[in-house]
Symmetry: C2
Subunit: 119 residues, 2 copies
DNA sequence: CGGTATCCCCCAAGATACTG
DNA sequence: CAGTATCTTGGGGGATACCG
């Protein structure tokens, strides 16, 4: 299995990374981002649906992480209505979709760890 | 692209995770772990070689992250010699090797981001 | 050579209350 | 319904000096 990352300094949105692996991890790192992306992988979801999918994340954190995912172009946010109760839907962008192969690899690996340790 | 994670509470080494994606990210999350694993993917490396590969990480952090990777069974540490100067080699374990497909996916994705933004 | 020890700072993330 | 506002805390990570 041979593969290489771009192993020079990379600049992106004003940040410097030692390599492209580092850059990628800055976008999807943190405790919750991949979990959010996982729950958006097959369909758009409302905010309240994400909360049900992830009962252990706080509102504040979910909100902040969604904002960062938007800022990085991974997720889009669409508002329906203007007076409360409004409806907000989150959806993977095309760029977010490009992450799906990575997410699948992470998911497979995580499943394998859990099942092997359950032996 | 259809795939599912084990979406129940998972327990691992005394920690509780909401799903297996979360579990996987706890092992490889953080600023440096994937970068370290990247530099170990093809061959074992000495501590000093890793330092050269990653000039922007501090000694303390490199040391701490290597310890966590060992604790999680991703990396093995072998010491040669007993009196300074000693030689220490770090190497992916079999479990660490199982992470390579994920690392490859992350690498490809990171490269793609960097090249597309460089347009 | 391959690390620790020490000190410090920032901020990710939790808890809880409140709002347009 | 879909979030902010506030406050708090743990610990990840940096800088630097030192050690077996």
């Amino acid at each position: 299995m041979k593969f290489e990352c771009q192993n020079d300094l990379v600049e992106m949105s004003g940040k410097l990374y030692p390599c492209t692996v580092s850059l990628a991890m800055d976008i999807i790192g943190g405790k919750w981002k991949t979990v959010i992306l996982y729950h958006l992988k097959d369909s758009k979801k409302r905010y309240s649906e994400l909360r049900k999918d992830m009962p252990t994340v706080t509102e504040r954190t979910l909100s902040l992480q969604l904002k960062e995912l938007q800022k990085d172009g991974m997720v889009s946010r669409t508002v329906y209505g203007v007076k409360p109760p409004i409806r907000v839907e989150y959806c993977l962008t095309d760029f977010g979709q490009s992450f799906l192969p990575v997410l699948q690899a992470i998911t497979n690996w995580g499943n394998r760890i859990a099942s092997e340790s359950a032996t």
